[in-house]
């Protein structure tokens, strides 16, 4: 018999099913004559199958939006804000803060009504929508957890509207701080990566208010209040595009 001795490598290759036909037969014959080795190799094969079936469900999960390759490629084409711009923005914020301190007392306290909520929604959009790394704290895949979290913190049941009919998918959400306490923010995006946010929090005043447009420099949106909860929807699309989405969101969020 001028056959090469069966090595541990052959046995592993047998488990992985990558042996050439001839060698496979030799290993099989060897295992027939060595029941103890055969038992170990059978256990390894069972282990392999077990691992594969235990891990298979992960590959079947729907991909979260941030792993959408087309979108990643899209985002890359957009210029990223440079460090210089970030530092400049920080300095401006600092100067603004100093100026604000200088005129403290001179400005009116911010309103508590719908106008304040609309402002907060614009701020949230401005801060979180451009964030590439972690725009949301809890992703859409964990939306149940998200709803529970924000409902607990707002002491009100909050519903996340489904905007897929308008082409916007839920990315996820987070809790944000406002001068009127915690608010829940949900972020959506469409196939082109355009984002919008919905901010909601309990209202002390303006507990029921019809929908009103809000306007900012580069954003537009709508704010309204139903049954003590205020809502602001802000995005980069035109008011004409956002209005039906806001109507849809209002209808869904009211239905608790």
């Amino acid at each position: 018999m001028n056959q090469r001795p069966i090595s541990e490598d052959d046995l592993n290759a047998h488990v992985d099913g990558v042996l050439e036909e001839e060698r496979r037969a030799e290993v099989a014959a060897y295992l027939d004559g060595h029941p103890d080795v055969a038992a170990r190799i059978a256990a390894y094969s069972a282990q392999r199958e077990l691992l594969r079936s235990a891990l298979a469900p992960i590959a079947d999960e729907p991909l979260p939006p941030q792993l959408n390759l087309r979108r990643l490629i899209e985002n890359r084409r957009r210029p990223r804000p440079s460090w210089g711009a970030a530092v400049a923005a920080l300095i401006l914020v600092f100067i603004g803060g100093l100026a604000g301190w200088g005129v403290r007392g001179a400005v009116q306290p911010p309103g508590a009504g719908l106008a304040a909520l609309a402002q907060e929604a614009s701020y949230s959009f401005g801060v979180y929508a451009p964030d590439r790394v972690r725009p949301v704290e809890i992703r859409a895949t964990d939306s149940e957890q998200l709803v529970q979290w924000v409902s607990n913190r707002l002491h009100q049941p909050v519903k996340v509207p489904d905007l897929t009919n308008s082409g916007y998918r839920l990315m996820g959400g987070r809790l944000v701080a406002t001068s009127h306490g915690p608010a829940a923010m949900f972020m959506y995006d469409d196939d082109r990566g355009q984002r919008l946010v919905i901010l909601t929090r309990p209202m002390q005043t303006d507990q029921n208010k019809p929908m009103a447009p809000l306007s900012g420099d580069s954003v537009s949106g709508f704010a309204w209040a139903d049954d003590g909860l205020g809502y602001g929807l802000v995005g980069q699309a035109t008011p004409e595009q956002l209005k039906p989405i806001a109507d849809d969101a209002r209808r869904q969020m009211r239905a608790i």
Partner: protein, 174 residues
């Protein structure tokens, strides 16, 4: 750009699975995969022709290793995120398969370098040469790690390791 999409997109699910099985936490794993995809897109012109899988897994694996190093430097640390619902064990519970939960839990006890080889070969179907390329080690080392990984995991599954941790460490020193 189209060939890039066609080559990378079908691999994302497997990259996710590898990352999650390697690091054990869904959010961390998806962050790693996102970094991997961004790197793959920006370095696409640097890949060699042929099967893109080893190249993609290598990018992902190197990112995971840097992550492990950062973690080690910070000391043992359980992010609050880890207490969330989406780690491996919980996913397996949703599958309602205790046996799967058991094997994943025991897999997580293997040293990272053994776990990586076993996952690449036995789950992701990379060739031994492919796994060697991903990990940047000789094929011989892949084979010996594969052998040790299977032996260790089998011991864990048979429940013979819990009482025998110290002796096994001594044996590996010899």
């Amino acid at each position: 750009m189209n060939d890039m999409l066609l080559a990378i997109e079908p691999q994302i699910a497997a990259l996710r699975r590898y990352a999650r099985a390697l690091v054990g936490n869904a959010a961390t794993a998806d962050d790693l995969v996102q970094d991997c995809l961004e790197k793959a897109v920006s370095h696409w012109h640097q890949r060699r022709d042929g099967d893109p899988r080893p190249w993609l897994f290598a990018i992902l694996h190197n990112l995971a290793v840097s992550q492990f190093r950062r973690q080690a430097a910070r000391g043992p640390h359980v992010a609050i995120d880890d207490a969330g619902e989406h780690d491996l064990r919980q996913d397996a519970v949703q599958e309602n398969q205790l046996i799967c939960r058991d094997v994943l839990e025991k897999l997580s006890r293997l040293p990272e370098e053994l776990r990586a080889v076993l996952l690449l070969v036995a789950v992701e179907d990379l060739s031994y040469a492919g796994a060697a390329a991903v990990l940047g080690i000789p094929i011989g080392t892949v084979m010996s790690r594969l052998s040790r990984a299977r032996e260790r995991l089998q011991q864990e599954l048979m429940g013979t390791r819990s009482a025998a941790k110290a002796p096994v460490q001594l044996r590996s020193v010899k």
